[in-house]
Symmetry: C2
């Protein structure tokens, strides 16, 4: 069972080491982990830009995967990393099982309110640009939370220490364990 | 030709009016616009949560669409709205043509540097969490920019006035016009 490992982990200074640890944990739970950093991109490939080569390699990996585990920890704002979310959408579009965790256990609304410029009027929260803020007790935008819940895989909320937001693997391991159980049960049916 | 209209527009105080204007512009360019706010969600539907009903209605609309136009204007941070990006990933996973615009013409790197806490060392930009910042002259994460460029539809950058960031439709109309030309040319081949 090949599992695509998506997350802002690829931006960490020790991304390669984190990818290796995630793949070891995958093996322990019976999965083959596919970490995007694996992609050997040949910068000299016929003049194709490096970012296009990385995109194509990751998209091919997502198509090859049997399922995915997504790190939805908020990244540079109250929501998840958009690269990770793009990949989640792709996997859902392809009809494959997706599992997810976040290292911040709060609701989206609490994080946006934490920015300090929201107001509540006529039953709706609005941010400083007067854009409404969803109030469904979700970790992020409803398209993300509901897509996962609709597959029977609600997002796992893990409270990582503040200084370990991006490299604590406790939430990842809970998610991996849940994925292994869920997929084993599905295969047995 | 049915075009799914994704964007943080749904969070505007006058979302319904904006949706109507977008659909009128679509009709002018020969498209049928599908705006997510159209979804009549029955809150009393058998105890299913409202957010799940909205998700299912939007996902069904994406599956019914022939193509999509995505508003990738930065939202609550340096990147696009994650709901919009999820839907973009889904449409790409489904193999349909996607077009996109942003009302902020800057590169992602410039916006992250604008946060004031980045540093450059060993050839890499890093933010205040030491997470690397992509430097490919893209408007956003490479998965987004490269996916669109790979379809031959680079993201259209439109400089909207600061106070019209979310309701200026100039970028949308440029994108719509480009989509109409591109799809007409493709159909003629």
């Amino acid at each position: 069972m090949r599992v695509y490992l998506a997350g802002p982990d690829v931006f960490l200074p020790d991304a390669i080491a984190i990818g290796r640890r995630k793949k070891e944990l995958c093996a322990y739970y019976g999965f083959e982990g596919l970490f995007p950093f694996d992609n050997e991109v040949d910068a000299a490939a016929g003049g194709t830009p490096v970012d296009t080569l990385i995109y194509r390699a990751n998209a091919a990996m997502i198509r090859r995967a049997d399922c995915g585990i997504f790190n939805l920890t908020p990244f540079r704002g109250p929501s998840a990393d958009v690269g990770t979310v793009f990949e989640l959408g792709m996997l859902i579009g392809l009809g494959k099982p997706a599992f997810a965790y976040t290292n911040n256990p709060l609701d989206l609304l609490d994080r946006v309110r934490g920015l300090g410029t929201t107001e509540f009027a006529h039953g709706v929260w609005r941010d400083s640009n007067r854009m409404s803020v969803e109030n469904f007790n979700n970790t992020d935008n409803l398209m993300i939370d509901a897509a996962l819940r609709d597959q029977g895989h609600p997002i796992i909320r893990h409270a990582a220490p503040g200084d370990r937001l991006f490299d604590d693997l406790g939430g990842f391991e809970k998610c991996l364990s849940f994925a292994a159980e869920t997929l084993t049960a599905a295969a047995a049916r």
